[in-house]
């Protein structure tokens, strides 16, 4: 990789360091669930993967890597998030985009072998506590007030586990680590300022520092309106902030004013628009975002959350089209 030749990979490295890339605004999705539709091949993950024989699993991991790399190259993705660890999209309903722990590492290695010159590998590993999910929302909330020492212990466990995951995946070639720690809903932060200071921010700072020691990028993902705690998040040592949910009222350009030269911003084309909007709307919104946030760099284009399996292909393509037109740094007329 020659440093004076721009590529999606060099562009994202620049963006993550809050520099203006030479080529284009990098493209990256927290999770991209349209591999099949963009390749006309089948990526096998989740429960379907676990039902395969050992030999079939080996084959599937190779095929998955080839498909993901091919789509990434074809559409100029600068980074690629490897399939995640097990999680449920609702209680009892496992997500599609996951692999068992050892297979996940193997998948990362295979991807690294074929893609590391062209695409930055990312992984969601955890590290920082998030607001609770549906299964323990009430109990967590009450425990945080009645038995805060137990939540403090959970925060420590979350950090240790997340860091351990990151170390393993770093050895497999992953360079960007995401703690998917939802801290807010649309209204505002779930944690009050004191709880943020007690359970979140010290661990986020520590986690970000440790990830950097691994020569990797610490990235925070959070849904919701994080504006009330934005300053603390931006000064925590993270190198990128992803999601910046427009449905929660977040305007990326406003965040950029505070984040300039400190933290790279990743997002934030509304996921709802991808699902329910028309391609023209996606094109228009993407163009607007690019024109506002491209100057100066420190900006990675993608959805405001994940690209879900139900996303219309033509809507995702509308984002790509807008990026081709407005996302290039060489074209001054479109900046």
């Amino acid at each position: 990789m020659s440093p004076d030749l721009s590529s999606p990979l060099t562009d994202i490295l620049d963006a993550l360091h809050c520099r203006q890339p030479q080529g284009a605004v990098p493209l990256w999705e927290l999770e991209f669930h349209l591999w099949d539709r963009f390749s006309d091949q089948r990526v096998i993950l989740g429960t379907e993967f676990t039902k395969l024989t050992r030999k079939e699993q080996e084959r599937a991991l190779h095929t998955n890597a080839e498909i993901m790399y091919w789509v990434s190259s074809e559409y100029k993705f600068a980074a690629l998030t490897i399939p995640g660890g097990y999680w449920e999209i609702a209680p009892g309903a496992p997500a599609w985009f996951w692999l068992p722990p050892q297979k996940r590492i193997q998948q990362a290695k295979l991807l690294y072998n074929i893609a590391h010159n062209d695409v930055l590998l990312m992984a969601i590993t955890g590290g920082v506590l998030a607001m609770p999910g549906a299964d323990n929302y009430l109990s967590f909330s009450i425990q945080m007030l009645e038995e805060p020492e137990k939540i403090a212990s959970q925060a420590q466990d979350c950090y240790s586990q997340g860091l351990e995951n990151a170390k393993r995946l770093r050895d497999a070639g992953v360079e960007g680590f995401i703690t998917a720690s939802d801290l807010a809903d649309n209204r505002g932060p779930y944690f009050n300022p004191q709880q943020m200071q007690e359970f979140i921010l010290p661990w986020l700072r520590r986690w970000a520092g440790e990830i950097k020691k691994l020569q990797a990028f610490p990235i925070l993902h959070s849904d919701g309106n994080i504006m009330p705690c934005l300053a603390e998040l931006l000064s925590s040592g993270i190198m990128a902030l992803q999601a910046l949910d427009p449905v929660a009222g977040i305007e990326l350009a406003n965040v950029k004013k505070q984040a300039l030269n400190k933290v790279c911003l990743c997002g934030n084309v509304d996921c709802g628009l991808f699902l329910q909007g028309a391609p023209e709307q996606v094109f228009e919104e993407t163009s607007r975002l690019l024109q506002l946030n491209k100057p100066g760099g420190g900006f990675v284009l993608g959805a405001s959350n994940v690209i879900q399996p139900q996303t219309h292909k033509e809507n995702f393509m509308a984002m790509i089209e807008a990026w081709r037109e407005y996302g290039q740094y060489g074209n001054d007329n479109k900046s």
């Binding site: 999209i89 609702a90 209680p91 009892g92 309903a93 999910g133 549906a134 929302y137 009430l138 909330s141 009450i142 945080m144 007030l145 009645e146 038995e147 809903d185 649309n186 209204r187 505002g188 932060p189 779930y190 944690f191 009050n192 709880q195 849904d223 919701g224 009330p228 449905v247 996921c271 709802g272 699902l275 329910q276 879900q308 139900q310």
Partner: protein
């Protein structure tokens, strides 16, 4: 007598459920909503006054929540304290000596298994004097219609957490409006907006539990 009522309202607002609860720290070892409600009933205080004190406490925390001076866990603690009082008031509701403001049927729409938001809204609405009929998650249109048939004057609430399932609200609202045109339908959930609520012809959009309470109260004012 009034002292108990004042203390009860404070316990609800501060989320002090009972004496054994260590929260809030400054009320540790003191009687909570549970003990105070019991004492109030034993002292012969009208159950309506007890309920009124609770609603006052819930209103106070709700207002703080709306102004971002209180957060979800604190609101939930208040709702928990309120529920402790409701146990004592149950016989009065059953006998009809205490009336609720109305009935609120709530469910997470078809295809969606999330119930965080729905549960939170249910607790706060109940704490504000409404009877809540919780239909659970993945609620079909038929299930909403059956519940309305059973509770004809109820207001309906629909929740969705996913952008992929919120679209199912429209179908359910159309069916409800076709069969029960007078029934009010409120919608809420993380991916929703006022524009979306307007588009699917919902009567109201509640971005948070307190907004749901305000809307509900406006319908019975």
């Amino acid at each position: 007598m009034d002292e108990i009522i004042v203390k009860l309202a404070i316990c609800i607002e501060r989320g002090k459920t009972n004496k054994t609860s260590p929260y809030p720290p400054d009320l540790r070892e003191q009687d909570g909503a549970d003990e105070l409600a019991k004492q109030a009933i034993e002292a012969g205080i009208d159950a309506n006054r007890i309920l009124g004190a609770c609603m006052q406490g819930m209103q106070s925390i709700g207002e703080k929540f709306a102004k971002n001076e209180a957060f979800v866990p604190e609101l939930l603690m208040s709702a928990k304290a309120m529920n402790a009082v409701m146990v004592h008031l149950k016989p009065f509701f059953q006998s009809g000596s205490v009336q609720r403001k109305g009935k609120f049927i709530i469910g997470t729409v078809a295809g969606d298994l999330h119930d965080i938001g729905k549960k939170l809204v249910s607790m706060v609405v109940e704490g504000n004097g409404w009877e809540v009929i919780d239909l659970g998650v993945d609620v079909s249109t038929d299930k909403y219609l059956a519940a309305i048939a059973q509770h004809p004057n109820a207001i309906v609430g629909m929740s969705a957490l996913l952008t992929t399932t919120m679209v199912n609200m429209e179908k359910s609202i159309q069916a409800i409006k076709a069969k029960y045109p007078a029934t009010k339908v409120l919608v809420g959930g993380a991916p929703l907006t006022q524009d979306f609520a307007n588009k699917i012809h919902a009567d109201g959009y509640a971005p948070d539990p307190q907004a749901a309470v305000k809307l509900l109260n406006s319908y019975v004012a």
